[in-house]
Symmetry: C2
Subunit: 201 residues, 2 copies
């Protein structure tokens, strides 16, 4: 086992925002491998973030993004637990990333739960009819329809979408980015709501 140096712990803390003891044990567990330690902390952080889903997120930031031509604009509210995190630069950067993404990707809902059942049923019907027309056996039809439903949800639901700036965000979904900022800040982070206006909509 490699020795875990104080400077490695310091670097890991700076890169992840995790606590000193968590960083130390992650480095011990990863045998001093910085990237692996980051991954370990992320997994742990997301586990914690999932637990803390129950805690009240009543602070936060309202952030806007308006395209330079003034024809598309977005307003988004992202909540966290404390005013301290709401004023954190990484948190603010996350809200800006989400606003810019919404402007480009035009999601219709934040979460799958928000999709009205009637809309879901209407899409399901179309996908089933399409699959039936393709003349495959019924079990295959079901699979095709289910696949298309998933694809449709990934298109209209913000959290399911891959961030439009895939280079910067490594092909991560908005939900993955949300979980990451939740892990970094140690708080429950919730994209509460958004509005997107485009001229001529």
């Amino acid at each position: 086992m490699s020795t875990v140096t104080a400077s490695a712990v310091k670097e890991l803390r700076e890169r992840t925002g995790a606590g000193m003891m968590d960083c130390k044990s992650a480095l011990v567990e990863s045998d001093g491998d910085m990237d692996k330690a980051i991954e370990l902390l992320r997994v742990k952080g997301q586990a914690k973030a999932a637990k803390r889903g129950e805690r009240a997120a009543s602070e936060g930031l309202v952030t806007s993004y308006v395209h330079h031509n003034g024809r598309v604009g977005v307003l988004v509210e992202v909540d966290c637990e404390t005013d301290f995190v709401a004023r954190n630069d990484d948190f603010e950067a996350f809200t800006k990333d989400v606003a810019a993404h919404i402007a480009a990707a035009a999601p219709r809902y934040v979460t799958e739960d928000e999709v009205p059942q009637a809309d879901r049923d209407a899409e399901q019907k179309v996908f089933q009819e399409q699959a039936a027309e393709e003349g495959k056996p019924p079990p295959v039809q079901e699979k095709i329809a289910a696949g298309r439903m998933k694809k449709w949800l990934d298109e209209v639901v913000l959290l399911n979408q891959t961030h439009v700036n895939a280079d910067k965000h490594d092909g991560k979904t908005i939900e993955e980015l949300r979980a990451a900022i939740s892990a970094t800040t140690g708080e429950n982070v919730v994209i509460r709501r958004f509005a997107r206006f485009a001229i001529g909509d």
Copy 2:
């Protein structure tokens, strides 16, 4: 009748944005009185603006305002008829004024027409009961209830609200400011929609 000078016409054009012939005839009609000519143009402009209410407003600007603490944000779409007006500084300034106003005044609807009938009925019932309890004769009760309904609409409807910056805007309502920018630009101007998010709402 005073002589209408070219410099007076020029000044009036700069102050109102109206056409040269309109400015000249307004100055003739006002006997060279600049303020009166402006008033005449405004009345005419608003008459024109009222007519042009039918014309399609399919261009416009999406503008945002976020309070410096990031706890209140507004997105507003204001439409006009041409891209040319959408890029006009006065038009842009109007949209910014409206966004800042919405942040402070927290209207719930753009127009009276958007107030759901159920909400209107619920308020009306309360006002009638209040008036009845005050023991006035029924016709007076009706008047009191009607007065309170008007007051309530003036509180929740954006166009009815007096701009929060009464010093800058001379106590004008948002509808009056809208009519003025419509007169100045010569186009139908429509506040299409807005969103206002506040942390902890």
